[in-house]
Amino acid sequence: MLRKRIHKIPLLVMCVLIAATLVIAGCGEKTVDTSKSVFKIGAVLSLTGPAAPLGEPEQRALMLLEEELNDGEGVDGHKVEFIIEDDESQPEKAKAAITKLINQEKVPAVIGSSSTGATLAMAPVAESSKVPLVCCAAGTKITDPVMPYVFRTPPTDSMAIEKVLDYLENSLKVEKIAILHDANAFGTGGADELSQKAPDAGIEIVARESYGSTDTDMTAQLTKIKGTDAEAIVVWGTNPGPASIAKNMQQLAMEIPYVGSHGIANKKFIELAGTASEGVVFPAGKLLIPESIEEGSEWRQAVDDFAQAYEDKYNMEIDTFAAHGYDAGLIVTEAMKMAGTGTDSQAIRDAIEEIEEFVGIDGIYTFSAKNHDGLSADDLIMIEVKDGDWVEKTS
């Protein structure tokens, strides 16, 4: 037993060395300088549990970015390594994971998490350890009020809500709506903000109902909404809930327009809901319909390149979550380049606030001391499901 173990260790070391050699050998002209230290960046993502469909593409994007950086010159010649931890979609696990990354791995910056709940659990740790955290979650509470060390890549729920209210008011021209939301942090946060901002758009919320993330039948909530004079229903949640709702609405022959959240901005929704998904409208990043981004612009180029590289490596289409993960990695490494350090947390944090007009995949980022969101509502469009595909909804 003991002997076996002794033999295994050198073998492992050799494997690592061989792997390292291969990586180095594969490099072109601009290469990482192996004599320089490796820049470590921590990441906490939801790789298992209900938020796994978010965390997985984020992880894939980060691994792609790591490969791309190290095939080039890394960060100022330093090799980059993303150390990715799984929070199992649970806030308390996310908190433990970020603590481990900061204390044991000594990472200078952390990316994550995938969901709002997990990110909110990690934020206090980032704050007290003075380590910048760049999250991939959209909950408004994460950056409102601004915490010095917490930043975000995706468009916020506020931006999506702004877009949805604009659509309801100016395109659908409705005055009374019903909200049906997931009872989790994302759904509740979205519903709260919708209820709060709707009056400004001259819209009244006539019904507000919720459902559990794993519920499969929402007919009870829908019959209640059917009994009101709501002219449209806004559904705030992530798959599979909204797909069940679309099917239930078809079952109950409800004809009012279904406006979704950016949580259903993936093709899964169409697959799951089938014909019931027809006519559903939701806000999403422009990258989902690259044609909506100006031809020849730097942003369009970045999206096309990313989509191609992702397709080559994983044989999959990009989605918004992949973009969030990729952008989070880009922002941290860009800040490292600007600060000229891969270890000084404070300098990296300060550099993120200096980022201006930086082209990512989700949009064009500009951070400041007061704005830790980077994007704006202009980076979003409304998309409609039509004949089983997405089309830009121009009113």
Binding site: T48, D215, K224, G274
Partner: protein, 321 residues
């Protein structure tokens, strides 16, 4: 003993009156909307009942609560996706192959992980089933990924309407399977020698083994049956629920609650518990702010364990000292 029987009868009457009152009131006050709630609740309730029966089969034969029961259903749904939707086998064949694979997995897991623990306490075996659930879930995620997948309805999606309520055709498949499973499980445990022997083996393994009933065989048969039942359930509900690697957790929890409510180890208890839980959940979601819906299962679980741990239709196990 006699007093116990009376209290059981009283309880059943009280339950029946309660159900009738709730249903009657809902219909009277809400009309077709109320009818819709009851219809939807019965569909969801049948799903719970099917999973609850799986719990019951293993519990009545071995006194083990199998927390991987929901995972068998999840596997059934996922396999159906691969075999029916992707490989394109005809429906009946895909159904049989999926059930067969899960059944073999169930039997294999029993031999690999439960059988070696035959001389350990029941609680250790229960803990192992929690481990099995995590193992099956993780493996399923590796195979099928984390996104939900769609299994097409067996007989189309055109809803049937009556009296202002509507129901999707797949619900009838769920009702049908619930009825069939109930009859088979009931007949097996009450009418066949093997079934009776298995219950005896659970009640008193030593005495049963003296009579030539092996608790080892009993456990294998129970796990095989529970896996088959769970898989069949997972397959018929997949078009309603969607199939995803995480689905077993919710099914397991609700099925367990239904089994406790109805009385662990009783097939009729599983059905009554499942239907009751499903209908109550839907009515609560309809009448109260829908956020309270998810609390229903837990409140029921706590109440039953506090007031009548043996469940509505279960019989208390008098242990004589």
């Amino acid at each position: 003993m006699a007093r116990r029987e009376v209290s059981r009868k009283t309880l059943l009457t009280v339950t029946a009156v309660f159900i009738a009152a709730v249903a009657g009131l809902t219909l009277a006050l809400k009309g077709s909307t109320g009818l819709q709630w009851i219809v939807s609740g019965l569909t969801v309730g049948s799903i719970y009942a099917l999973v609850a029966m799986g719990f019951s089969v293993i519990y009545s034969s071995t006194r083990v609560i199998n927390f991987a029961q929901g995972e068998f259903s999840m596997l059934g749904g996922m396999l159906m996706y691969s075999i029916y939707m992707r490989a394109g086998l005809p429906l009946p064949l895909a159904f049989l192959v999926s059930v067969l694979i899960v059944t073999l997995i169930g039997a294999g897991l029993e031999r690999a992980t439960i059988h070696p623990l035959r001389n350990q306490s029941v609680i250790s075996v229960i803990i192992v089933t929690i481990g099995l659930a995590i193992f099956i879930r993780a493996t399923a995620k590796l195979i099928w990924g984390s996104e939900p997948v769609k299994v097409a309805s067996f007989t189309g999606d055109k809803p049937l309407r009556f009296l202002g309520a509507s129901i999707v055709p797949q619900s009838f498949w769920v009702f049908g399977l619930t009825l069939l499973a109930f009859v088979l499980v009931f007949l097996f445990f009450d009418r066949t020698l093997l079934g009776k022997g298995m219950r005896a083996a659970a009640a008193n393994p030593d005495a049963a083994s003296l009579m030539g009933i092996s608790s080892s065989t009993s456990s294998l048969v129970a796990w095989t049956m529970a896996a088959a039942l769970g898989a069949a359930a997972g397959i018929v509900i997949a078009p309603i629920n969607f199939a995803y690697y995480y689905a077993g957790t919710m099914l397991g929890l609700k099925g367990f609650t239904a089994a406790i409510l109805g009385g662990l180890g009783s097939a009729s208890g599983a059905v009554v518990g499942g239907l009751l839980l499903g209908v109550l959940e839907t009515i609560v979601a309809g009448v109260f702010p829908s956020g309270y819906k998810s609390a229903v299962a837990f409140v029921i679980l706590i109440l039953v364990l506090l007031i009548r741990p043996e469940g509505l239709l279960g019989r208390s196990e008098g242990v004589k000292v």
